[in-house]
Amino acid sequence: MKCEKCTIREANIHLTRNRNGVVTEHHLCETCAQEQGVGFNLSKYFDGLGGVKALAGGSIFDTAGGIPAFGTVMEKNTTCPRCGQTFADFRRSGLFGCSVCYDAFADRLDPLMRRVQGSTQHIGHKAHQDAPWQEQNILKKQLTDLRQTLRQAVEAEEYETAARLRDEIRALEARVDAADSDAEKGGANI
């Protein structure tokens, strides 16, 4: 990542600002950071907005320029039991090795997520939800796709294909209708 100020040198000073729960990040090179007085007078750079914590490093964790960074007190190097990636690898690359790394490095993740994301809890769309309505959506999506293909086939005057597609669409429509009425019945029982 390049420094946001000079846009030439690599950014190795990373700043996070949390204001009313809205977290913002700034990425500067050492030279620009010093010019901005990062670590000494942060308010200069942020026009006196305040509430700024300086976190510096070659990666999001390391220490540079005498500014203490997140992670410096934790020397222990955990290894992910599944993919073998170490916490040091993660510090270097900024990338997790696999989904199990999230568990393996769990005790260090919350501070990191708070800093990068301003939150430690997902509240968006959930995976693995019970699937009947998902199945419905999938059928409906397939139906839309098939109808589009049918239009294309008719435009291209490929009538044999069109006839076949029409049959498929009818079959799928029947399934969607059946599932819809099932869902309604199910809903009435609750």
Binding site: M1, R17, T24, E25, S99, Y102, Q117, T120, I123, G124
Partner: protein
């Protein structure tokens, strides 16, 4: 309808909208730690789950194994933003599935196993999200997802964890750029938690006053809230840009008209043109269209030119290896053809 040519809501400022969702398989390491055979197996698993022996999908979505494409072909896909330059440059077993209308593309084995992106003309993040989410739902129901109740969708980089969603727009901001307010605007947007990049993504310069603006956070907010925050900010930005354009034109009509008409003159007559010069001049042309100065052209003409003049696209259209000089000649010809045919009421697709 083609998202990179057509016009949509607020397309005088916002050229296109894109929503990207990152998803990973639970049963493989993330792409940067996979072995060759794991990369291949994961790609096959995802592709099989996507098509699922479904005739509609087979005819509506093109599958491409990047290993079978030439460098020009890969770069041409990147110039159209159907794949990332990152995917184009990676090793074996990178694949992409692209919908026939080119509005949805699914990159396989990029930084994450699955990157679904959906595009719309103009400012229409909701429609883009809807289409991407529909694709994600299908894959989520058929594949073991890397997901935790606490952190949501688990991604290789912690900057994508949670929703895995990056909503972005391509904004044309010549007004704010010409009156030198753009630096403050970009700084302000950064402070508000939005990322601003050049027109070809991370690390790229903003050529032709084109800026890519996106949400930075992906965790702790719902997809809808992230999109609404971005949209609310963009509506203000659009107003600002329109006001500045109007002010500039009222204050110095001759200066602005001269700049725009010179750009038009060069574009419709030049015999050689670099990509950079073309992108810069097309920005003036687009501004002229928004100000109603070029009734013979439409923004779709400008979009059509932009989609055709990248180095790889030019080379691909030429069908043979070309020197930079030959490409500049071909580029100038493509531009003249589109501008001048429109002028005589010619091609309309």
């Amino acid at each position: 309808m083609t998202w990179y040519i057509d016009q949509g809501p607020n397309s005088d400022v916002i050229i296109s909208s894109r929503v990207r969702l990152a998803r990973n398989l639970d049963n493989y390491p993330f792409p940067h730690r996979m072995t060759g055979s794991q990369t291949r197996d994961a790609a096959t698993e995802i592709t099989t789950a996507f098509y699922h022996d479904d005739e509609g999908r087979k005819s509506n979505y093109l599958f491409m194994d990047l290993d079978t494409l030439s460098n020009e072909d890969k770069q041409a896909l990147a110039e159209k933003r159907l794949i990332s330059t990152d995917l184009a440059g990676k090793g074996a077993d990178r694949r992409v599935i692209i919908s026939r209308n080119e509005a949805v593309s699914i990159m396989i084995n990029e930084e994450d196993h699955i990157r679904i992106q959906s595009m719309q003309p103009g400012l229409n993040l909701e429609a883009a999200h809807q289409a991407a989410a529909a694709e994600a739902l299908i894959l989520e129901s058929r594949l073991p997802m890397a997901y935790s109740e606490k952190y949501g969708f688990l991604t290789a980089c912690p900057t994508n964890t949670g929703t895995g969603m990056r909503a972005s727009v391509m904004a044309h901001l010549p007004g704010l750029s010409l009156c030198s307010r753009i630096k403050n605007v970009v700084e302000g947007l950064n402070k508000m938690g939005f990322a601003v990049r050049g027109n070809y993504g991370e690390h790229s310069k903003a050529q032709g006053h084109l800026f890519q603006i996106s949400n930075q956070l992906t965790l702790g907010l719902t997809e809808e809230d992230l999109i609404n925050d971005l949209k609310r900010m963009l509506m203000q930005l659009i107003e600002q840009e329109r006001n500045v354009r109007r002010e500039l034109y009222e204050q110095q009509p001759a200066l602005l008209e001269d700049k725009i008409m010179r750009a038009y003159g060069i574009l419709s007559n030049a015999r050689m043109m670099t990509n950079e010069e073309a992108v810069t001049l097309l920005s003036s042309l687009r501004l002229g269209l928004a100000l109603g100065l070029l009734p013979q052209l439409t923004a779709s003409d400008v979009n059509r030119i932009l989609s055709a003049i990248g180095p790889a696209s030019i080379q691909k259209a030429g069908g043979r290896p070309m020197t930079p000089e030959e490409r500049d000649r071909a580029r100038a010809a493509v531009i003249r053809e589109i501008i001048n045919k429109t002028e005589t009421g010619g091609i309309k697709e």
